[in-house]
């Protein structure tokens, strides 16, 4: 089995450690991973701004880069959802369709495809789990509080395999952090207020680290935490699952 590693553009540029942790974690689990060097972006920033018609270039590039893999794995629910919902190509629609069916967000790939039951990692800290909306409500990585349905959470299931992790309880389990792509600058006031409130929920409930399956939400919350000079850190779930960091100091 060969997996194409799909790394969101901003993770490539700003959070290379998240991409490295994803690569390392998959390799440790025995997967053959390739990072196609010519990948750029899934096109979501344009599409969510109403410019989906400008994403043909991104789409055909994505198809060229990822068509030959058994699976495509991405450490972002949001980018994965975009590909799943919106990757089309008039000339190669069959291939686009196949890609839409084999693209996975990292945690669901671990729980649903690799069926991981244990992990060799240690992280003795209080962790707040941020449910990113696109991963949760879009990919259904976790049950949603609005629905009258039994609870589950794929990322939390994995976190619980890490020795020492204590998952804190939030007062609002799955409220949006307010990043929202270009929303974060177009609606700056509301975006920041949402971010501050989300951060406060984690901090007041004792989180030392806020984690999640989407670095974009975490980047937004990190920006707020650092502005507040808070000691609370953000960390992508791949970094914790890979056992990259055993000490916060």
């Amino acid at each position: 089995m060969t997996v194409g590693l799909f790394i969101p553009c901003y993770v490539d540029q700003f959070y290379p450690q998240v991409a490295k942790a994803t690569l390392s974690l998959l390799e440790k689990l025995g997967v053959n991973v390739v990072f196609p060097m010519n990948q750029t972006c899934c096109g979501q920033p344009m599409a969510n701004s109403g410019f989906e018609h400008l994403t043909h270039g991104c789409n055909s590039l994505f198809i060229k880069n990822f068509k030959d893999f058994d699976y495509i794995v991405c450490p972002s629910g949001s980018c994965t959802l975009h590909v799943k919902d919106h990757l089309h190509d008039e000339e190669h629609e069959e291939i686009a369709k196949a890609i839409r069916g084999k693209v996975y967000e990292l945690t669901e790939f671990l729980t649903d495809v690799l069926k991981v039951e244990k992990l060799d990692a240690k992280f003795p800290y209080k962790v707040g789990m941020h449910q990113s909306c696109h991963g949760q409500r879009g990919l259904k990585l976790s049950q949603m509080t609005e629905l009258v349905a039994p609870p589950f959470s794929k990322p939390e299931k994995l976190l619980r395999m890490v020795e020492g992790v204590e998952i804190i309880q939030l007062s609002r389990k799955d409220e949006c952090c307010g990043f929202g792509g270009t929303f974060c600058v177009a609606e700056e006031a509301v975006s920041v207020k949402m971010g501050k409130d989300r951060v406060e929920d984690h901090v007041s409930n004792g989180a030392q680290v806020i984690t999640g399956a989407d670095m974009s939400c975490l980047m937004h919350m990190e920006g707020i935490l650092r502005r507040q000079k808070s000691p609370v850190k953000v960390m992508h779930i791949a970094e914790i699952l890979n056992g990259d960091i055993e000490s916060l100091n």
């Binding site: 089995m1 194409g4 790394i7 540029q13 700003f14 450690q17 689990l29 025995g30 990072f35 196609p36 060097m37 750029t40 096109g43 920033p45 344009m46 969510n48 701004s49 410019f51 018609h53 400008l54 270039g57 991104c58 590039l61 060229k64 068509k67 030959d68 893999f69 058994d70 190669h92 069959e94 291939i95 196949a98 084999k102 495809v113 909306c133 696109h134 409500r137 949603m144 609005e146 009258v148 609002r172 799955d174 409220e175 949006c176 792509g181 600058v185 177009a186 609606e187 700056e188 006031a189 509301v190 920041v192 207020k193 949402m194 971010g195 409130d197 980047m219 990190e222 920006g223 502005r227």
Partner: protein, 477 residues
């Protein structure tokens, strides 16, 4: 220039403790809704059933409307058809003129808000008294409602005390909700007894029987209609349901979704005028047929106006209803408003993070957040987005579809943040106003990969893609 949602929400956010209060008040209602919904094990099935009934209605709307009209006429009700808000207002006014009425009471009706009936009638010398307590409060304050179910949710009780002191003569400084409510009751009682004409909204209109159902907690619709010589009920054409038995589905969903109550205090059926009374129904299109003709947006017409999407929306809770500058605010308003006026409401579908919570609480399963996304595409294509934004999006698309250009842009971006933070870390960068920029790493992941994993074979980009079945190889553990 008219202020858009972002500017109005920015203003709302100047008073952070008030934003917190607004957010918590509405979140409390979301929690009440959750409690009520979780009390019904078949809740999701109920939503699905309601959704399907509404789909049936939308697919057979003209037949149901004709069936309803016939039944209503047989019941002795006068039926009027209005193509738009203006015609609706003219029809209502003509009924008033026929009876020589220049003052009336009106219970809650978002349709009349949508049609701006109050303003129209005031311009024609008619006094309208809104009898829903929340609506009366915003009416005294000369404001539109900020929420379709909780019109004055943005008002604190102390402020209402002051408003009532000014308008109803209650003692200054008295903010006791029970006292103020009683003062409003006495004030409204006089209006009910002296007004000869009452307007009500309609929650459900039953095609089978020609009756309509009006849901209130205050009984103000009943009080108005029962005491008046003339009752005018105004409804959008999408309020039809096929049969009386379907009320069993909708009435269970409506109040639970709206406020967490099992049912509204009053769910009143109006079928025939009583002896000596005149009853009118005004059926209003006002863009609904147009919306019905848009395949991506037609199912927004399933809405039963419960307001659950408002209460769950993290953006609504932190921007307030007036930031939506439309009779119906919140997520549902943001997908209904562009149909009414694309230019005026082009900002609303962008006032969302597309988090999807609205679609999950919707009792009739409208795909609200998907429609927000789709409206964005329509608004951009039809030219309702600034040319500066369009230009920057084109540049972004060009960069992101070219790997070489992307590498350079990424390097430039990281270099800029690292070496020239003043360029990005200033007030002109809306990110930096309240957030730090990410710390740029010394190298990107692809640079690291190139150095450390240059041996890994690359996919053969460039040649025509070939479809390949995923291999069925065993997964190693």
């Amino acid at each position: 220039m008219k202020k858009d949602h972002a500017a109005l929400a920015d203003k709302f956010n100047q008073d952070e403790p008030r934003v917190d209060w607004h957010d918590e008040t509405l979140w409390w209602i979301r929690q009440k809704r959750d409690k009520a919904a979780f009390g019904i094990p078949e809740w999701e099935e109920l939503r699905e059933t309601a959704s399907r009934i509404k789909f049936n209605v939308l697919s057979n709307l003209s037949q149901y409307l004709e069936q309803f009209e016939k039944a209503a006429l047989d019941n002795g009700v006068q039926v009027h058809w209005a193509a738009d808000g203006e015609e609706h207002n003219r029809i209502v006014h003509s009924i008033l003129q026929k009876h020589g009425v220049d003052r009336l009471v009106k219970s809650k009706s978002m349709l009349t808000e949508e049609c701006h009936l109050n303003e129209y009638l005031q311009e024609h010398g008619v006094e309208v008294i809104d009898t829903d307590l929340g609506e009366r409060i915003v009416q005294l304050a000369k404001e539109p409602p900020s929420h379709i179910v909780l019109p004055c949710i943005h008002w604190k009780k102390e402020e209402i005390g002051e408003l009532f002191h000014q308008h109803l003569g209650t003692p200054k400084g008295n903010a006791d909700p029970q006292y103020l409510t009683n003062a409003a009751r006495l004030h409204l009682r006089e209006k009910f007894l002296t007004r000869k004409l009452a307007i009500t909204g309609v929650n459900f209109a039953v095609a089978e029987t020609g009756e309509m159902v009006v849901c209130t907690n205050e009984g103000n619709a009943d009080m108005g209609a029962h005491l008046a010589d003339v009752h005018i009920a105004c409804m959008g054409i999408e309020k039809i349901i096929p049969q009386r038995k379907h009320l069993g589905v909708f009435l269970r969903l409506l109040a639970r979704s709206a406020t967490g109550q099992p049912i509204t205090t009053y769910s009143s059926h109006f079928k025939k005028p009583r002896k000596g009374q005149e009853m009118h129904i005004v059926l209003v299109d006002n863009g609904r047929s147009r919306q019905l003709g848009r395949p991506e947006f037609r199912n927004s017409l399933k809405c039963i106006r419960c307001g659950a999407c408002f209460n769950t929306c993290p953006v609504y809770r932190r921007s307030g209803g007036h930031s939506y500058h439309n009779a119906v605010a919140g997520p549902i308003g943001a997908i209904l408003a562009p149909n009414l006026d694309m230019k005026k409401n082009a900002d609303l579908p962008f006032a969302s993070t597309l988090c999807g919570s609205c679609s999950n609480v919707c009792p009739v399963k409208i795909d609200i957040h998907d429609q927000l996304y789709k409206w964005r595409q329509v608004l951009v294509k039809d030219g309702y987005v600034s040319s500066a934004k369009a230009a920057s999006m084109k540049a972004m698309a060009a960069t992101l579809s070219n790997p070489a250009l992307f590498k350079i842009a990424g390097k430039l971006g990281r270099w800029t943040i690292k070496h020239a933070p003043f360029v990005v870390n200033n007030g002109l960068n809306p990110w930096f106003k309240n957030r730090e920029m990410p710390e740029p790493p010394k190298e990107s992941f692809r640079e690291w990969y190139q150095k450390n994993r240059s041996g890994t074979p690359q996919p053969s980009a460039g040649r025509e893609p070939q479809y390949k079945e995923p291999s069925k190889s065993k997964i190693p553990h």
